[in-house]
Subunit: 509 residues, 2 copies
């Protein structure tokens, strides 16, 4: 693919067409017409009852003093040194939990609503390496990679929420890591961002930082553009004390929470998939309860990330059939609760963007997205069982997300779309539908047109260079990286941040 | 991968493990626990009513004299020179049509039942070229390729029905083509086979040939091991006279029928997907009616292959989101009728086995398989919008089919699988589930273990040669092609066939 030289008007138009205008081409939440339901209604009820049973009789280990005090005051009880949640209490909290809320972006045009029954597609993960497509190998991920991924995601119309996909392994100091992670994300995209934060104390120290990025003191809590991902549970059924502290401080500064648990069937959860769901739901509900006890109706996405172990090795596996089932079933449970739920899907165990990656990403992503849970994280860019990330994969997967959105939208059945008269006219007339008024009017709305996937004939494909989808994604990623270099932080704010915080990202001003 | 040398006991055990024993390792129809339903019940009813409306008011063009005579005697009417089917007649025929029947294989252990609500996975197609993985290009498909594909499919445990995936373009004479196609399939596999046949006259002439392969005069009709694929409709709403003749003669010799229609949304069917379904169902029901008028309750799979045109070019596209939706919706309509239905899915527009192929095959295959229609054709081996085939792709896709079967089986929810006690024991005890009795007992049944998809860590993957799934599939295909050389026709029969028919396949005796 030839590259336009910089500078001419024609080039700039071409560039805008190819990179897209991040402020206008973004997709909002997609509707979901017909959910895929792997469980019957009575099975959903049975899993829910078993979760309540586990919560009330087994409960959670390792509650922090602050959580213990709050929970006991709300009606929890201690049994054998574990915090147990009576079923009626859990049901009451579920009834009062936030069923929807606005997810804010620094650009208000990129806000969207969090609720179950929709399709919201997000990055996710904390990969520690980047896949280098030139050497076909992995290297440690750096702060610059995070900024690069953010600005690529900024142009991708199917991603709504940019959770930092990689850890900046070149930053050793934990506070500097937290600060620079948010900065690299915020510099690269004005979409909603998310990250984990090392400790509650860091959350407190970062409040002025977040306020500055939001436009001034007190501004962050008004339009919180950043969610904290908090793995509040260590499976099976134990709280993670540090994460609970993070959640407590996040609530104090008005930062939304994505509370995650990640039990692995066969390792940290039962090998029976139904049992993994029971435990996962219990763990997710425990976190939901704690957060709602601290602040009723607080905006939280419950990330019931039920995972799979390959029992031949005990290793995490992200792309198989059981993962696809668990993702969909977990989403179905969130839809049953009626609260925004999140799943990890779009994963692959492949180390490269091959057919395995395509199959595994598509099957896990599709079923999780169609479940009605609400959010799918890890939906783009990840490789190697979440250990690696790639800007090229992000670009490639964005097109898969478009297809998933189209499938979620379903088939419109109306008097008009049933097309009886259109059929009659064509069958008794010209014998085809090409150029028919209905065809022309539906051309743009009924069909999703891929840009990277090749639909040419074998000969045309060879004449065009015989490119794979990965080749095309690599070209597009390079074009974006070469041409889309935003720094969404104004000079004055950037200067202040650098004076008051250990900012390491090279400024682009 | 090192190859075992031929001949030793150890090698022969290794070979049997790697190639599989075709007679014992085959998968029967898979159960489908929870269908994916893109349409609501009232939408299904609306599509059905619109189809009946089209059949009774627009009807079908080009009925042959024999069909006209039979149809008019059964209550059809002629309107504006088209054969119309009153709604009550169609409903009566639907009520009396075969809801299930045995699909026979030459090896009775490979028989299975045809009905909706299951997952039956089959090859399909009539590609005219083979993808050569060494040159990464296409060449015309030959008779030898067909035999090779048959013997590879013979070892693949997830394929139940071998429809000839490629046309032997090296055979010019139409009758020789029909004869050798059946012979190459039957020589390579004892699974149920299928092919199209050029004319009704050929069907008649082939009866002794089919009888000989079945074991003697009159044997074929007792256990018909071969189905005829007949594209009985030219969309929109016109019969294909030659194919109707083939069907008439097939019924006469007791050969089961897979009656296909393949309307393309936007080209030979409405651009509105709902309208394409209406027309497709009308065309499928017209064929079902005709076949059941000729012989009530005859074993037939209704192949309502609703396809998609890329309206940018008008070309057929097999892998997109709309195709995934149409496949699932078509299957849902067959499940509504309660008769065995077939769809083309597992297709891709990619010319090579890349991420695009993985994504497109997985998304179309998964939703069509989960629809409950019954049969999925084209499920393995196809590339380039059905223009090309590959033994290596067949091997790779077989593993994807395993995953689809596991997903279809769903999540078992029982008192035991809910695992409340198992969770309690682990959470309050050792803190994990590795080695737990439940884990050990479910290890083989709850999980699908891929052989070609790589789940190793990045470093182990590199140490093992950094292979893609395609690399592994290519190695496995080579191993099968080198080592599994059946010729499932005994010497005496083969000699008789060669004396009486224009057999060109090189004998392996």
């Amino acid at each position: 693919m030839s590259r336009p030289s910089r500078g001419s008007v024609r080039d700039s138009k071409k560039q805008s067409r190819r990179v897209g205008n991040p402020q206008t081409r973004q997709t909002a939440s997609s509707s979901l017409k017909a959910p895929y339901k792997p469980l019957t209604d009575s099975e959903v009820a049975a899993i829910h009852q078993a979760s309540l049973d586990v919560l009330s009789t087994v409960g959670m280990a390792n509650a922090t003093p602050q959580i213990l005090e709050t929970a006991l005051a709300h009606g929890c009880v201690i049994k054998e040194n574990r915090l147990c949640f009576p079923a009626a209490l859990v049901e009451d909290i579920l009834a009062g939990a936030a069923r929807s809320f606005v997810v804010h972006a620094r650009d208000p045009r990129l806000d969207f609503e969090a609720r179950s029954g929709m399709i919201n597609l997000c990055t996710g993960g904390a990969a520690v390496s980047m896949y280098d497509h030139r050497t076909e190998s992995y290297r440690p991920s750096m702060l610059g990679d995070l900024y690069d991924l953010a600005r690529v995601a900024d142009t991708l119309e199917n991603l709504q929420w940019f959770a930092r996909p990689v850890v900046a392994t070149d930053i050793e100091d934990p506070f500097a890591l937290d600060v620079n992670t948010v900065l690299a994300c915020a510099a690269g995209t004005r979409k909603h961002i998310a990250t984990s934060i090392c400790s509650g104390e860091h959350v407190v120290r970062m409040q002025p930082f977040l306020d500055a990025l939001a436009g001034g003191t007190g501004k962050f809590s008004q339009r919180p553009f950043c969610t904290v991902h908090a793995t509040t549970v260590v499976s099976p059924l134990s709280f993670a004390a540090d994460s609970l502290d993070v959640v407590c401080e996040a609530i104090r500064i008005g930062m939304p929470v994505h509370s995650q648990t990640g039990p692995q069937a066969g390792a940290t959860a039962p090998a029976a998939l139904a049992g993994t769901l029971v435990q996962c739901c219990a763990e997710g509900l425990a976190s939901l309860c704690v957060i709602n006890m601290l602040k009723p109706g607080y905006p939280v996405v419950i990330g019931n990330w039920a995972f799979v172990s390959d029992l031949r090795t005990g290793a995490f596996s992200g792309g198989g059939a059981e993962q696809a089932l668990l993702g969909a079933a977990s989403g179905q449970m969130s839809a049953f609760y009626g609260i925004p739920g999140g799943m990890g899907a779009g994963m692959t165990d492949s180390k490269q963007p091959d057919a395995q990656a395509g199959i595994e990403k598509a099957q896990t992503l599709l079923l999780a997205s169609l479940s009605g849970g609400g959010f799918v994280f890890e939906s783009a860019g990840m490789l190697a069982s979440l250990l690696g990330c790639s800007a090229e994969a992000l670009v490639l997967d964005n097109e898969m997300l478009s297809s998933v959105r189209r499938i979620g939208r379903g088939i419109e059945v109306t008097e008009e779309s049933l097309s009886v008269d259109v059929i009659k006219q064509a069958a008794t007339g010209v014998g085809h539908f090409l150029g028919a008024p209905q065809t022309l009017s539906l051309m743009e709305t009924e069909f999703d047109y891929p840009q990277l996937a090749d639909r040419a004939s074998p000969q045309d494909w060879i004449d065009n260079g015989g490119k794979s989808m990965w080749d095309s994604a690599t070209e597009k990623a390079k074009y974006i990286l070469d041409n889309h270099r935003p720094y969404y932080i104004d000079g004055k704010t950037d200067k202040w941040l650098r004076e008051h915080f250990p900012v390491q990202l090279v400024a682009m001003h």
